[in-house]
């Protein structure tokens, strides 16, 4: 049975409070504003999903909150408070005391996040022996029960094996065991299933949820896949170009989407009800340059609803009627203003708008296939 490590909350209030948090990288080409003003809170035992495409800043966000980015050209501003303790500007020693014990991370690719030349057992007991000063034998026993609790069969043999001797799904279970070893209160899962087979993905997500419930842990689930967070999170934050563009309790988000980007994300998920050979809906264009982001709304260049105001002014995060639902848009989906904006765009044959309405991105000219060569063998198909 897994040992339950439940610590009494040391302060009242949310576990994690992030306020106007920014993470910039100073490079030769300019300052890359990977995270540009993010605020969120997370209570104990709750799950937050952070969703965004590549380049949205979601991975940088989670690693920066944890304080794992120590390159010389990183600048973090704003506030991140864990249990009331300020993390931005904390010393390395202070952070090391928190890593593993208070917060931990599960990484995307278990093949590369495990040390290939170190036995699995060692990789689990390391943290126990360092942080909790557990003696060797007891640490081993704890490692054994951890492996059991993450669902690894024949754990005793596995302790002395190396990562390459396990399958992908098992390796990820091991990384989860390692992350949970010292009983953290906050777990970051950064694309935990992206590198795994589809059949294994659900198992791992279930495992994470189960562990979270048992340990009363808060969890941040970072992913590009809306399907992963549906039904597994309490709240979802959608990120785009370094900012949060919509944040809502999960059911509200799916039912009552406001931000056009979120709507586009939802639409791009292929659905069973659609007839076969339906072309996938894409969001035309590319994410903006993070060194010189556009002045106004950062999604405006690709947005079906975009109006001149959107290009000129950055919309602030505002609350919708049901509290707890924030979004960042001048002409939100499902409102009068939004509908009018879309009609205006359709009248002017704006490609993004046409694609959004017809569902056919190709016809709208949003898919650029010039220069692509089809080298696959289609087995006789045209």
């Amino acid at each position: 049975m897994a040992r339950r490590i439940i610590a009494a909350p040391s302060v009242e209030g949310p576990l994690l409070v992030v306020d106007d948090f920014r993470t910039h990288f100073r490079t030769d080409g300019g300052t890359v504003r990977a995270v540009d003003g993010v605020s969120l809170t997370l209570e104990r035992g709750r799950t937050l999903g952070i969703v965004g495409e590549s380049g949205s800043g979601k991975t940088v966000l989670s690693r920066s909150i944890m304080g794992l980015l120590t390159a010389r050209n990183v600048v973090r501003t704003g506030s991140v408070k864990l249990n009331g303790q300020e993390l931005v500007g904390a010393s390395n020693a202070e952070m090391r005391a928190l890593w593993g014990t208070e917060m931990a991370m599960v990484f995307q690719d278990p093949m590369t996040s495990l040390n290939p030349v170190m036995k699995i057992g060692r990789q689990i007991t390391e943290g126990l022996r360092f942080h909790l000063k557990v003696p060797k034998d007891e640490a081993r026993a704890q490692a054994l029960s951890l492996l059991e609790s993450v669902g690894i069969p024949d754990p005793k043999r596995r302790l002395d094996q190396y990562p390459h001797e396990l399958s992908g799904g098992m390796r990820q279970r091991v990384t989860i065991a390692i992350a949970l070893a010292c009983g953290p209160h906050l777990l970051f899962a950064d694309e935990p299933t992206t590198a795994l087979d589809v059949t294994v993905q659900a198992q791992i997500l279930n495992l994470l949820q189960e562990q979270q419930r048992e340990r009363y842990m808060a969890m941040v689930l970072v992913t590009h896949d809306l399907g992963v967070v549906a039904g597994r999170t309490d709240e979802i934050a959608v990120m785009y170009a370094g900012q949060i563009v919509e944040k809502a309790p999960t059911s509200t988000l799916f039912a009552n989407v406001r931000m056009p980007y979120t709507e586009a994300l939802l639409k791009s998920i292929p659905k069973l009800e659609q007839p076969s050979h339906t072309r996938l809906q894409i969001i035309g264009g590319r994410p903006p340059d993070l060194v010189n982001p556009p002045h106004g709304c950062r999604f405006a260049p690709r947005c079906p609803y975009a109006q001149p105001k959107c290009h000129a002014e950055m919309p602030p995060l505002v609350e919708a009627e049901p509290p707890g639902h924030e979004y960042r848009c001048w002409f939100p989906v499902g409102t009068e203003a939004g509908r009018e904006a879309l009609e205006r765009n359709l009248a002017e044959h704006v490609p993004a708008a046409e694609a959004a309405v017809t569902g056919d991105s190709h016809a709208a000219g949003l898919v650029d296939t010039a220069g692509l060569v089809d080298t696959a063998d289609h087995g006789g198909e045209a």
């Binding site: 490079t27 080409g29 590549s54 050209n73 950064d190 992206t194 590009h224």
Partner: protein, 299 residues
């Protein structure tokens, strides 16, 4: 797929619209690079122009000053050596030997070694195994001893020294050429050429060769540095002809004054010159190599 994460120190800026521009080659040499180039130019020029420069004869004893006299005495800029020869003049003349060795190695060693490597890397199979086995055996030989043996066999004049050093450098060139050829022959443009009907010869000359030559040349500079040291070692051991003036020989000549008479400059001055030359060649070779991003083959 998660987005690219910043490396510990530098992150690459996100792709911009004109992503199909050719990557900017870092061609800055820096202060050190220019100094190195300048030094080499000076040595090179001195070596070429030695016969017409107003230098003392490097092999005539000056009877007006003591042997091993310090720099500045009797009009000798850097003093005289154990035979009373003018050191400065010998330094300049000694550069000729290093120059000849450098070119010789590039010409002979790189050509032969490169050919062997390219053939091995392109045709693969039994031929490759055989060629590389021979190369590996020669690499197993302690090269200095092999060199000494070759020079002893052929006779100790400059031509043979160059041949010997080139021979010993062939295995290293062969390995690099093979490794580079391997990477290139898998690339699409070779497959494309073959698909268009090009024969092996044509592919080798038109596609492979131009691509392999540059990294090979970059590596060649590093080998030149080693070659200069090798020649110096031979001269130091007294195994080259006493007719040729060589830095290594000068250092050897300075041994007795150094170890027995406490006189340093005869040995130290040529040592410094040799060090600066080798350093400059190494430095430029390293820059050149970095520009082509050639991986070091484990030699």
């Amino acid at each position: 797929m998660s987005e690219a994460l910043p490396a510990p120190d530098v992150i690459t800026p996100p792709p911009d619209e004109a992503a199909d521009k050719a990557p900017r080659r870092k061609s800055r040499l820096g202060v050190a690079g220019w100094l190195a180039a300048l030094w080499l130019l000076a040595v090179f020029a001195g070596a070429l122009l030695a016969p017409i420069l107003p230098l003392d004869d490097p092999q005539i004893t000056d009877f007006f000053v003591d042997n091993n006299s310090s720099p500045g005495t009797g009009g000798h800029l850097l003093g005289t050596d154990e035979n009373g020869y003018d050191i400065f003049s010998r330094l300049v003349w000694g550069g000729r030997v290093s120059l000849v060795v450098a070119f010789g190695v590039l010409l002979l060693g790189m050509t032969v070694g490169g050919l062997v490597g390219i053939i091995a890397g392109y045709f693969r199979g039994r031929l490759e195994t055989l060629l590389m086995a021979v190369v590996d055996i020669f690499l197993a030989f302690p090269s200095l001893i092999l060199l000494i043996a070759i020079v002893a066999f052929l006779g100790a004049d400059l031509k043979n020294v160059v041949i010997g050093i080139s021979l010993v450098s062939i295995p290293a060139f062969a390995r690099i050429a093979r490794a580079t050829t391997l990477t290139f022959s898998q690339r699409e443009f070779v497959v494309a050429a073959r698909a268009a009907g090009a024969g092996n010869g044509r592919i080798l000359v038109r596609e492979i060769l131009p691509n392999v030559i540059l990294p090979l040349l970059a590596f060649g500079l590093l080998v030149v540095a080693i070659a200069i040291v090798a020649e110096g070692s031979l001269a130091f051991l007294g195994l080259t002809s006493s007719e040729t003036v060589s830095w290594g020989g000068m250092i050897n000549g300075g041994r007795r004054p150094l170890q027995e008479e406490d006189i340093a400059h005869v040995a130290i001055i040529p040592s410094i010159v040799m060090f600066l030359t080798v350093l400059s060649v190494n430095f430029l070779g390293d820059r050149f190599r970095a520009a082509f991003d050639v991986k070091d083959a484990a030699l």
